[in-house]
């Protein structure tokens, strides 16, 4: 089926009941993702990214609105939608650990109706592509985390779907495997295979490096959609100042600071990282250092170009972190 948009989401709403209260996980989202586009959905944990992916992949039934995938409506034609998509999630537990890579891939090929002959060729090709041929007959439980994620990618691609839904693909992986996964998504899947990819991540660098366009998602809603470059241009400043301190700082400390476009704070391992952008950082910096000096010891001051995270903080007032959402002044 030839369609203009590979994925089209229209006024999609998903609510959950939590301890008697209704929580809106996805709040009237509208999105159009073109054929062959690598689109990033960015937001902190709990922003609604995974819920949105689950609605698109027919694992959840939306309360309102709808979505089409490859031209098929997720509510009316769920089986057709599932034939169009491959779903990859982060984390290790999405394979049968007591089976070998070949047995795992063979099983999932059957689920997608891939013929036996094609399955054999496809498994050989994917294992070669993932550098897992030598491990083909070893139980998955004996593979490293990175190898398991590579095998998960092979499983996602077993039926050669035109649309890929990739949810936090590098979560918990070491830098080497993370780099491999990112390069594979960018070079092999996007450039070579021309797949349409919807990628969710809370790693801004990952999105910046990979995506044609990104959407900022926060509290179930889309706050902005554009190319990473255009989004970064939304910040009026061209420079961001990073201050690294020894000690722990409270976000309230900076509540009275004016004339700042974005200000984010991260406390990690006894160190505090302040990141701010402003039209006039030279004037702002002394004020920040004054506030900090009685609370912590300044270790370094660094000037850098703004990142997507700075834009995200600027637009949403929410800071992205690995394990929580933190509001800043």
């Amino acid at each position: 089926m030839l369609v203009e948009h590979a994925i089209q989401i229209t006024s999609l709403v998903k609510m959950f009941k939590k301890r008697g209260d209704e929580v809106i996980a996805v709040n009237g989202v509208n999105l159009k993702i073109d054929q062959g586009e690598l689109f990033g959905l960015l937001g902190p944990n709990g922003a609604g990214k995974t819920t949105l992916i689950k609605c698109i992949s027919t694992l959840l039934i939306p309360d309102n609105g709808t979505a089409t995938v490859g031209g098929y409506d997720v509510l009316k034609k769920p089986l057709d939608v599932r034939r169009q998509i491959g779903v990859l999630t982060g984390g290790e537990r999405s394979l049968y650990w007591k089976l070998t890579p070949v047995e795992n891939l063979n099983y999932f090929a059957a689920l997608y109706g891939v013929s036996r002959k094609k399955t054999k060729n496809r498994i050989a090709y994917l294992l070669e592509l993932m550098d897992l041929t030598e491990k083909r007959n070893e139980r998955v439980e004996k593979l490293s985390s990175g190898m398991k994620q590579k095998l998960s990618i092979a499983r996602t691609l077993i039926h050669d779907p035109p649309i890929l839904l990739i949810d936090e693909p590098t979560l918990g992986l070491d830098p080497t495997f993370s780099r491999f996964i990112r390069n594979f998504i960018k070079d092999e899947l996007h450039r070579e295979r021309k797949k349409t990819i919807l990628l969710t991540t809370h790693y801004m660098d990952e999105a910046d490096m990979l995506c044609d366009r990104v959407a900022f998602m926060n509290r179930g809603a889309i706050d902005a959609v554009d190319t990473p470059r255009a989004l970064k241009q939304r910040l009026s400043t061209e420079q961001v100042v990073e201050v690294k301190c020894m000690g722990t700082l409270e976000p309230d400390l900076f509540a009275q600071v004016k004339e700042v476009a974005t200000l984010s704070l991260e406390n990690k391992d006894g160190l505090a990282y302040i990141r701010m952008s402003s039209d006039n950082p030279e004037q702002l910096l002394p004020a920040i250092l004054d506030l900090v000096q009685n609370k912590a010891k300044v270790l370094s001051v660094h000037v850098a170009a703004p990142t997507l995270e700075d834009v995200f903080v600027h637009l949403t007032g929410v800071q992205l972190k690995d394990d929580q959402v933190e509001e800043c002044g």
Partner: protein
């Protein structure tokens, strides 16, 4: 069909990774029956009992209990294995990936049901062989065909029970307590350990459970106890006709509800 076949192969491979599990399923019905045999002997002084004979149609207590224990394997593997099938997939982390594929979960469950039937049959053959060799059970070739007939009718009904058990675990996740309760109800209201004629309530409730008729027929065939072949067959068939659509309906309803509530992959 290929999905069902691959589901069976996958489950066999996973089972073979746990050899102690296989040993457990083979010997547990026999281990379970032996204390009952000793209990019976202690109570009445021998393995023959006139009151038991007047209710059960045979005074041979050992074969009666052993047959109940062996063939109830089908019921319990259906409840536990099919009930926990999707739950196991949740623990493997594969449930969502299965449900993202263009296969109706029903086919996965049928595959798991056939796998259970196959293994239950294998275990039953081993158990019956032990009974023939060590407990003097009389099993001739002419008895095998009618046995297979009633077992087939029983298994069809058990798929319906399995669909309901699978729906139950999908809905409430930690269903061990309820499945245990289900198991105890079966022990209480079906003639696994004793004739249900022992009490009017057990007799009334047992009439609704397919295992009751299967055990009546199987004991009738193996021990020569009189039973109505046609009536028992029709009753089992009638239960099958009701329980399969009921199981499918309940499973479909629960699947939709979990997708609405977002609890599909919750532990």
């Amino acid at each position: 069909m290929r999905v069902i076949f691959e589901e069976i192969i996958k489950d066999i491979r996973i089972l073979l990774a746990y050899p102690i599990e296989i040993a457990f399923w083979i010997i547990s019905p026999l281990l379970w029956a032996v204390p009952l045999v000793f209990q019976g002997k202690a109570l009445v002084g021998s393995l023959q009992s006139t009151p038991f004979g007047s209710l059960a149609g045979t005074s041979e207590y050992i074969p009666y209990v052993l047959i109940g224990a062996i063939f109830s394997t089908y019921m319990f593997t259906a409840v536990w294995s099919m009930g926990n099938a999707l739950r196991n997939e949740m623990f493997y982390g594969t449930l969502e990936h299965i449900l993202c594929s263009p296969v109706r979960p029903l086919y996965i469950l049928i595959g798991k049901g056939l796998y259970n039937s196959m293994f239950s049959t294998m275990f039953v053959i081993v158990q019956l062989t032990i009974c023939v060799l060590f407990f003097g059970l009389d099993l001739t070739v002419t008895k095998i065909l009618p046995m297979v007939f009633f077992l087939a009718l029983l298994m069809i009904g058990l798929y319906g029970v399995g669909f309901i058990a699978a729906a139950l675990t999908l809905l409430i996740k930690e269903a061990h307590g309820i499945l245990h309760m289900f198991e105890y109800i079966l022990f209480l209201f079906t003639p696994i350990r004793y004739p249900v004629e022992v009490h009017p309530i057990t007799r009334a409730v047992s009439a609704l459970i397919p295992l009751t008729y299967a055990l009546i027929a199987l004991r009738g065939i193996l021990l020569g106890i009189k039973f109505d072949f046609l009536k028992t067959s029709l009753l089992l068939l009638g239960i099958d006709i009701v329980i399969i659509p009921l199981g499918l309906y309940i499973f479909g309803w629960v699947e939709k509800r979990t997708k609405q509530r977002g609890t599909l992959a919750h532990y």
